[in-house]
Subunit: 223 residues, 2 copies
């Protein structure tokens, strides 16, 4: 392993350690010393990679953002209807948020009012939902009597609700809850000819896309 | 005004002041001295009514809980279908959360992981949704092909999402968003004969019930 590879690996490990500490204590109560202790490195080693707590939080947000975009674009590559893509992306985001502490901490940091976050998950997700509903409308796959605005409000509201209730420890942002949500919503939103081909539980692209995105930030390893 | 009435009024004023401080700074960062300064009373006067910060938080939660129950039972008295009652209660809760700082702070304190809260809004709301859907099923007003569990998940998810996004400063927990949500959902959930009589924007009972509940905790007044 070259020096550069070791540096990149250490940086990723520090980002994951920081995410674990940020998730547990929140941005404000986290000290850089907590992160270095948790990562098992000296404060000097941590400082070599990240000059401040804000720089570390920015790096966590950036890593989370990359994972989310990578996952969304993996799903988007498959040639299915826009409504199925939307369903699949919601499932893949739920999987990422469940399994990847960096994604969870990045999204949580983005809600923080103390600093100026670089990732606004809620805004980006809302834009993504809007774009996909525009595409669904262009495809002619939205039922005549539904308003795109109402669908956006409902999809963003419900998914952000599942996310907020996940923090309370409940079983909310799960494949099962999301499947129930889409099972209820899709027959109202999609035109009858499309409906039969839609899978509220997600298509194979969800399962296919996830393994690669889960590895964008490697697990913490001993130094 | 008797001594007892003055005492009650002061207690209500302190609860409102505490709610304002808790909402702004969160439970953990709030000190009793902040509340007494904000209320314009001495720390001794505050201590006469509330022995600790936890007692003050409990009082805010209890007042919020009373307001929410009072509002829900006002709506429940009107002889409309269970689905309309559910729609109306969601609107009245949104109004309360928008207008009453004690309700907002009480609900927020209930999400706090630092102490053991007495109000769990999310749990109580979920129970309320479940009960009303059981009633709707008993009335025969639920469409055959929807699962009550999916409706509960979607209603609780979306409304809790609107609530969590309200904290980010967006226009989410509003009459407009909720009306859009119900406009989308009710045609999927209700049987066709009932649908024509349902008002996604809420019935007159929403407007009728709110003024009385808004006054359960009086505005802060000078001592």
């Amino acid at each position: 392993m070259t020096k550069q590879e070791r540096g990149t690996r250490t940086r990723h490990m520090l980002i994951r350690s920081a995410a674990e500490v940020f998730e547990q204590h929140g941005y404000e109560r986290t000290r850089l010393a907590d992160v270095s202790a948790h990562a098992g490195v000296s404060t000097g080693a941590l400082h070599f990679h990240f000059k401040s707590k804000a720089a570390l939080a920015d790096a966590v947000e950036s890593a989370a953002s990359r994972s989310l975009h990578h996952a969304a674009s993996s799903v988007g590559r498959h040639p299915v209807s826009a409504l199925q893509t939307l369903t699949d992306i919601s499932h893949i985001f739920a999987l990422l948020l469940d399994r990847d502490v960096v994604v969870r901490a990045g999204v949580q940091l983005g809600c923080d009012t103390v600093r100026d976050p670089t990732l606004n998950f809620h805004r980006e997700w809302q834009d993504c939902v809007r774009r996909l509903l525009d595409r669904a409308a262009a495809e002619g796959s939205l039922a005549d009597d539904v308003s795109q605005q109402d669908v956006t409000t409902t999809v963003v509201g419900a998914t952000m609700g599942f996310l907020s209730m996940r923090r309370e420890g409940g079983e909310w942002l799960t494949h099962r809850s999301l499947t129930g949500f889409w099972r209820l919503l899709l027959p109202r939103v999609a035109t009858p000819p499309l409906l039969g081909s839609l899978a509220p539980e997600g298509t194979r692209s969800v399962a296919g896309a996830f393994p690669s995105t889960a590895r964008t930030v490697p697990e913490r390893q001993p130094q």
